[in-house]
Structures are given as structure tokens and as C-alpha cells.
């Protein structure tokens, strides 16, 4: 079984975890007396997609590569924005309705940087980090989510 995968230095923290994501700890990590703004993004499991009901999401993750890609996109964000600190965490395994599957916290001297970097980080994470969700519908069916691929 996998344990938690982590990568942390003074200004960047990355985690893939089977446990609930501790957003308070992430906010403490990015807190800095050089920063005047912090943005926290949380992705949570939604019950309804259109009229279909989800009971939970099951995530699968290519952990070693996911940590590597998360590190790379944080480095790329650093080259675009002068943020102070950033923390990124993704759940793997089962995430029930209302729970957090992904969280990103960014602190910066000014708020525009924190907003832009946080939004770019979640947009980019969703495009390049090797993690997959399986919808577990209330009718008992299950379905891997692969944007752009529809089984025939």
C-alpha cells in the first residue's frame, strides 16, 4: 500500500494523501509576514451533476509522477508570479460528497498575484497531473472520468 507522498521545502509544500486534507495546516504553512493576501482553493465532491447523483468519488493517482508534476507546475508558477509560499494537496482513494479532493493555498504580498497563481495552479493541475476520478453514481454504476474520451 502507498503511504502519503510529500515534498516540502521552505516555500513549497506538496502532498498526496489518503487522509482528509488539513487546510488549516496548509494556511499555517503559507502564512508569512511578507504576505498581505492568501487565497485557498478547495475542490469538493458535488452531489449533483445535472440531475445525476454522485455518492462519492474514487481517486487513483500515479503518485511518484504526480508529485514530480506538482513540483514542476509550482516552479513554473514561481517563474510567472512573485508569490511568497504555496501549498498543494490532493486526496487519493475515496472522497465522499462534501469532502475536499484537492486544495491549493498561495500567499503573496498583493492579492492579484495570489488569485492569479491559485487559479492557474488548479487549472494546470487538472490538465497535467496524473490523477483520475471515478464517479460512483447513486444508481450503483461507476465510471472513470477521462475528458475527451467517451466509450462507444
Amino acid at each position: 500500500m502507498i503511504d502519503d507522498y510529500k515534498c516540502t521545502d521552505e516555500t513549497i509544500s506538496i502532498a498526496i494523501t489518503l487522509e482528509a486534507i488539513d487546510t488549516e495546516a496548509m494556511l499555517r504553512f503559507v502564512n508569512s509576514d511578507k504576505s498581505g493576501a492568501t487565497v485557498l482553493f478547495m475542490g469538493t465532491t458535488r452531489r449533483l451533476t445535472g440531475e445525476r447523483e454522485t455518492t462519492r468519488l474514487d481517486y487513483e493517482c500515479y503518485e511518484t509522477m504526480a508529485i514530480k508534476k506538482m513540483r514542476e507546475i509550482l516552479d513554473e508558477a514561481r517563474s510567472k508570479w512573485a508569490f511568497e509560499k504555496a501549498s498543494m494537496a490532493h486526496r487519493t482513494g475515496t472522497v465522499d460528497v462534501g469532502q475536499t479532493s484537492v486544495a491549493i493555498a498561495v500567499s503573496a504580498a498583493h492579492r492579484k498575484v495570489a488569485f492569479e497563481a491559485a487559479e492557474w495552479l488548479i487549472d494546470t493541475l487538472k490538465q497535467v497531473v496524473p490523477i483520475w476520478k471515478q464517479e460512483c453514481w447513486a444508481d450503483g454504476s461507476r465510471e472513470w472520468v477521462h475528458p475527451g474520451f467517451h466509450k462507444t
Binding site: 487513483e60 514530480k68 488548479i122 497531473v129 496524473p130 490523477i131 471515478q134 472513470w144 466509450k151
Partner: protein, 81 residues
Amino acid sequence: MIVKVLLFASAKQLVGESHIELGLDDEATLGSAKASLIEHYPMLMNLLPKCTFSVDQEYAEDARPLYHGCEVACIPPVSGG
């Protein structure tokens, strides 16, 4: 050479294994590994054109040379977040 191919999500579900091993020529590239994969696991026929591949945890193109023991992964369209 022998390379390990990790399978995730639908790819894992279709094959029924989380990883498989492929025996390849010594000059094999990622492209020849993909051809061998479809040959041995035809159930991946529809999905594979939508997948990207990595070698040693880096996204890679078909021309990428492989080596004995390297870690290839078949990466269906991702849906993290």
C-alpha cells in the same frame, strides 16, 4: 529488453492489471512499446489513441528510446481536481 508499463484508471480496468511487462527489441522506442501493447492487449484499441505516455515519470513522445527496466506509464486523459 523488458519494460514495465503501468496502467491507470480505464486502462487498468480494461486490462485487469495495474501493470504489465513487455519484452521489446533492444532498439525499442516508446512508439514500438505502444504498438506491442495494442498487439497484446487489443481491448486498449479505442483508449490508447487518447492516452499520453510517460517514461520514468516524464511525459514522452513516440521517438523516445527505452532501456531495460525503465518505467513506462499509460496515462488516460487525467481528471484530478
